[in-house]
Symmetry: C2
Subunit: 414 residues, 2 copies
């Protein structure tokens, strides 16, 4: 198995080639990668079947099994994803600012690749292709460490991606699968100072805590999504119901699903019985504060911990709040900084909510489920940042770049 | 002495007020802060005299004593700095992107303050006013931890700044001086997760190593400046001499001073004897590789360590390289990512250098000393980032902000 130094050296060398490549050359590489994934579909499906068998033997739950599973359709999805990213404009080389200094020096701020990007992720093998495509398109070498359950699938996908890179004249080490899926392997990535310019950890609270405690390389955290929907007195309640149901039920296992419902006291009498019945009919387990439970006695009493928890499941906690200011206070106290939504047709209330919230994304009269790189138009996403530095919200190509300065003078000194 | 939780709570509360303030209100606050510093000049000078006396008793070196010293002129400089930052455009609220999504949602990306910014810095008391001004102008609360030598001065400056904030109707805790200047005090800031949105450590390798090992809060590192000047065969040698002398001698103790001189072998015979004599005449201690020493035998033999060292002093190491490619390779191997300069009038050589270097700032035919927030036009700087994430190079107001998304829909669901 390659050491982190082996991986880092290969990635660093490849990164220099990638940084010098033109947009057209990188686009061609992504199409070649897509072509090789198509060609290797049978090998990838066979490797995935092996992963699935092992996972079943280990008694893995059905939700995780579904994430792990590859089908011809899902492989076509990966290929389509690579071709979609290939078609995006290249952020590298964009001049993001520039002016003439007082002394005549022409100053330019230019977007450049970060260098080597590492991603730690869960058991979804399609992330391997998505992340590789975004990294190569933005001129970065990729170190991809998926879950141990998906190692066979990731190896097969990685071989295809590397073959495509070589077809297009790029070093195979532009994309490397990290085979050490142990905790020590993750720790080696977290502390690979000098080799890694950005580490994106995607995973549960355990991974994030380990990153916060141990990482010495630059990190952008794809953290928890304890997302809120606030239904205001001035909401259209039909619209509010549709948004709450969609935000909670359409895909409860993802980070942009809503976990908390806050209802303005002024409409709680009408809305809480109605929405809790509708959610319960969709199989949602409901928990509530005292005021919510007084209107919907079936709700399980919510504990203090509930308000800070991302369930990742068909569970929702409901609270009654006294208007938008109380909603903002509740959210600021408990949010993980991902996505918060308001449903209201009152102009001033919406203004107050938008000004008061400090999360990556604020939704007005729309489902929290729209916080997503593809929905935003980024083609795909390397993760969703819940931190404030560097990148916030869905991270596309631009988040994988840095801006450096070049100053053109003619002999100026101070 | 206040605990980190006390400081954090005060800062967090003030940050919410600051985030909601208009540009005009923040500008008025900076002028009020400037006014109070002017008013408190005598108290500040008296406190500084006390710091100076203690520092002298402790046998502190003259370079540090000079940094610590305040004079009426230097206080006027702090006041001028606050007023200059007051006059800068407010980055907060700028819409940095926006489009209509496929489903009609209007998406906006908006610049917002980070929240609470902490700075750990050395014995220069003027940094206290500079950092406070930049933080308040960009809507952030500031936690400022200077060196123990400057604590009396910083307290006095902090009192004046806080009085100005109150004059302008802002919470005094918008700016707080961290009085615990021990190593534990620094560690408390580094690990104050939840209280601090950005920590900028400014200091030597010891501080940076501690940050890398221990920090759990988001950090942008103001790191070492092992800056290079490459003098190419196609350089105007008079211009090259002026740039090298300026870059090394004008202020050798700062991070944008040049530490290394690389000379193209094609002009080494002519340039090395000339530049080393000129540098020696300015009191610079010169070290060299074998090729440089064969042309200037007085040079001290450079060790391997020299090439990676930031001297912060009147010392320079000189090497002979075979053209621009070798210069780029040398710099990539040894640079700290701060500033590198080329002196050349050959178009293609300049292109090769600019493309090959991956530091925060690349200078063409200009002194490395221009890497500076004020020189760039940022009014002042909170530090110079040598990392690639979030901000790179001199950090002004924009580096103290984050960009969040607000999506305006009319009932959209997925």
């Amino acid at each position: 198995m390659l050491t982190i130094d082996d991986l880092g050296r290969g990635a660093r060398t490849a990164a220099r080639t990638l940084a010098g490549a033109t947009a057209a050359e990188k686009t061609a590489a992504l199409h070649a990668m897509a072509g090789q994934v198509t060609k290797a579909a049978d090998e990838i499906l066979a490797a995935n079947a092996g992963d699935m068998e092992t996972a079943r033997e280990l008694g893995i739950g059905t939700a995780l099994l579904d994430r792990l599973l590859l089908t011809p359709d899902r492989i076509a999805g990966m290929v389509g994803g690579l071709r979609k990213v290939a078609a995006l404009p290249d952020p590298v080389g964009n001049q993001t600012g520039g002016w003439r200094m007082y002394n005549g020096i022409r100053l330019q701020r230019v977007r450049v690749p970060l260098g080597v990007v590492a991603v730690i992720y869960e058991a979804r093998p399609n992330v391997t292709a998505d992340a590789a495509g975004l990294c190569v398109k933005s001129g970065n070498a990729a170190l991809l460490r998926g879950s141990s359950y998906a190692l066979g699938s990731n190896r097969a996908i990685g071989m295809a991606l590397r073959a495509g890179l070589e077809d297009a004249g790029f070093p195979a080490d532009s994309v490397q699968i990290v085979e050490d899926t142990s905790r020590d392997g993750a720790r080696a990535l977290m502390t690979a100072t000098g080799w890694i310019d950005l580490l994106v950890p995607r995973g549960g609270p355990g991974l994030i805590a380990a990153i916060e405690a141990e990482a010495t390389v630059p990190v952008v955290i794809d953290g928890a999504g304890n997302c809120h929907v606030y239904v205001d007195a001035a909401a259209d309640l039909d619209g509010a119901e549709a948004i709450v149901i969609n935000a909670k039920v359409q895909r409860p296992g993802v980070c942009n699903a809503a976990e908390k419902l806050l209802v303005d006291a002024a409409v709680a009498d009408e809305f809480i019985p109605r929405i809790t019945a509708a959610l319960a009919a969709k199989g949602v387990e409901l928990r509530g504060d005292e005021r919510a439970r007084s209107l919907a006695p079936d709700l399980i009493p919510a504990t203090g911990e509930d308000w800070d928890t991302e369930y990742h499941d068909l569970i929702m906690a409901v609270a009654v709040v006294d208007g938008v200011d109380a909603a903002v206070d509740h959210i600021r106290a408990h949010s993980s900084g991902h996505t918060e939504a308001i449903v209201s047709n009152d102009y001033n209330t919406v203004q107050t909510f938008v000004a008061g919230i400090d999360s990556a994304v604020t939704m007005v009269n729309a489902s929290t489920r729209f916080t997503d790189g593809e929905e935003f138009g980024f083609g795909a996403e390397i993760g969703i940042s819940t931190q404030k530095l560097h990148a916030r919200g869905p991270m596309g190509l631009e988040a994988l770049t840095s801006e450096r300065y070049v100053l053109y003078g003619d002999g100026q000194v101070r």
